[in-house]
């Protein structure tokens, strides 16, 4: 019973309802995407996989925003460290 991991949708299985092939780091697995019936899911989309089902579609915009926040924190930190190093009261 693993945690959810992200995978990229490669293709839908033509004759099987709700089944799609996903790719996780080059490893391919068939999963059930029935829980995402209310959304448009297309090859190239990323989904969260849990016990053989896609639970949620990963929102790339939100992911980018989250990363940007982290970059910002990282950059601000670097700036602070740099400023600290430069301002020496002697």
């Amino acid at each position: 019973m693993c945690l959810g991991i992200p995978g990229e949708v490669i293709e839908f299985l033509p004759d099987q309802a709700d089944l799609a092939r996903v790719d996780v780091s080059g490893v391919k697995r068939v999963i059930n995407v029935g829980l995402l019936a209310d959304e448009r899911v297309e090859p190239g989309d990323w989904v969260l996989i849990h016990v053989g089902f896609a639970l949620s579609k990963i929102d790339e915009a939100e992911a980018a925003a989250a990363l940007q926040f982290l970059e910002g924190i990282g950059q601000a930190y670097e700036d602070e460290l740099a400023a600290l190093a430069e301002s020496r009261i002697e």
Binding site: S25, V27, K28
Partner: protein, 413 residues
């Protein structure tokens, strides 16, 4: 479901397990550290009664950890009355079984080191001897078959003792109904592997059992090799400051087998890494006399070997997650399966413990050989805490890597 007010049953095995432990603790008390346990007892009482001077949290935690260490050092006992798959996984249960049943019964100084091969003196020559059984399922998989595994595995166990592998035996247990063509294919693989490794199969045995047993084919091997003068390898020789390296990416074999079982609807381009390592080892030992120990990372994976080093030499081991080579696909498959590549078997990788002076030449020697092109330094031996393996995570934190419990990947070799 019964309503809440019925009086509940009790699990008697728990009370028994506790009584055993209390008995064990009493004997340990008598041996030395009665005071410490009293302090722990008092400390926990202080917590409950709100005394003005409880011991600080970190001190109490240390006392508990000491208590745990003592429990871990206790004499191994097999608690189960039946063998479970855990006993075959190469982790804690396997170790306990070996120590409590086999080591205890056969006890002699040649057996005690429990290395991959026994090191014997026969009429002035130093001979290495090893034995292995192969129960892999499926028999044929991407990258090899049970035959390759049998020859390479035996050759490798001898090589880990620093021996030049020479002769193998091959005993077959065949299931009634097994295809003769398949058997011929396995034998051909074994011969090809033997030629590649420069060894010969010189004796063997064949048995047949009824349909339903032996799952097609089981193979048992024994191997003999000669250890050259001056070579003395063993995990107990590891010392603080020694460098630990691995000869290539880990986890390929175990994951290949899991996927080859076909139960999981997972497709990936991963093949078993089964290969003979004697050439690699010869080059390594020639270039780096400061090699202290070699182990091939089979059942239980690299994590098991690191724990064996720490336990045998009474040292600590620290490895860095980012430095451990793992193929991207092995990592992906492991995440999907919820397993940790550190515990997954390889069949063509070794872990080497090398003195710091010789580390550079050792790594260069590994990389110069086709079996070791992706070799990497993964960590080092430290003074302590003894017996503990720590991992510096990619994230910068630290965690422990303990021996495997249970059996996530049954019958992979």
């Amino acid at each position: 479901m019964t309503a809440p007010h019925d009086s509940p049953a009790r699990a008697s095995w728990v009370e028994e397990a506790l009584r055993e432990h209390e008995a064990l603790q009493r004997t340990q008390h008598e041996q030395a550290r009665g005071e410490h346990d009293e302090i722990v007892g008092e400390a926990t009482q202080f917590e409950h009664h709100g005394s003005p001077q409880p011991l600080p949290g970190t001190v109490r935690e240390e006392l508990v950890l000491e208590r745990i260490d003592r429990a871990r050092r206790a004499r191994p006992r097999v608690r189960e009355d039946r063998i479970t798959m855990s006993h075959g996984a190469g982790g804690k249960a396997t170790q306990t079984l070996i120590e409590a049943v086999f080591l205890d019964t056969f006890r002699n100084p040649l057996l005690e080191p429990l290395e991959d091969a026994a090191q014997l003196h026969v009429n002035g020559a130093r001979v290495a001897m090893t034995t292995d059984s192969y129960v892999v399922k499926p028999l044929f998989f991407p990258g090899g078959d049970i035959g390759d595994l049998a020859v390479n595995g035996t050759v490798n166990d001898l090589s880990m003792a620093g021996a030049v592998p020479l002769y193998l035996s091959a005993g077959f247990i065949l299931e009634e109904g097994f295809g003769v063509a398949d058997l011929a294919r396995i034998a051909a693989s074994m011969q090809a592997a033997a030629i590649r490794a420069g060894v010969q199969v010189v004796t063997g045995d064949t048995k047949v059992v009824e349909k339903g047993k032996a799952d097609g084919c089981y193979i048992n091997t024994a191997g003999l090799g000669i250890i050259e003068h001056g070579i003395s390898l063993g995990v107990a020789h590891a010392r603080p400051g020694d460098v630990i390296m691995v000869s290539g990416p880990i986890g390929d074999h175990g994951v290949t087998i899991m996927l080859a079982r076909g139960e999981l609807d997972i497709e990936a381009d991963i093949t078993s890494d089964t290969a003979p390592l004697n050439g690699l080892v010869a080059g390594l030992l020639a270039a780096a006399p400061g090699v202290r120990a070699l182990r091939d990372a089979t059942r239980g994976g690299v994590a098991t070997i690191l724990n064996e080093i720490a336990a045998a030499a009474g040292v600590g081991v620290v490895v860095t997650e980012d430095d451990i080579p793992v193929r991207v696909q092995v990592r992906g498959a492991s995440e999907l399966l919820g397993i940790d590549p550190m515990y997954v078997a390889c069949e063509g990788r070794l872990v080497a413990v090398v003195s710091p002076e010789d580390a550079d030449s050792a790594l260069a020697a590994l990389k110069a050989h086709p079996q070791g092109t992706d070799a990497a330094v993964i960590g080092m031996v430290t003074a302590g805490p003894p017996g503990i393996v720590q991992l510096k995570t990619a994230f910068g934190g630290t965690r422990i890597v303990d021996l495997l419990v249970g059996d996530p990947l049954p019958r992979i070799c």
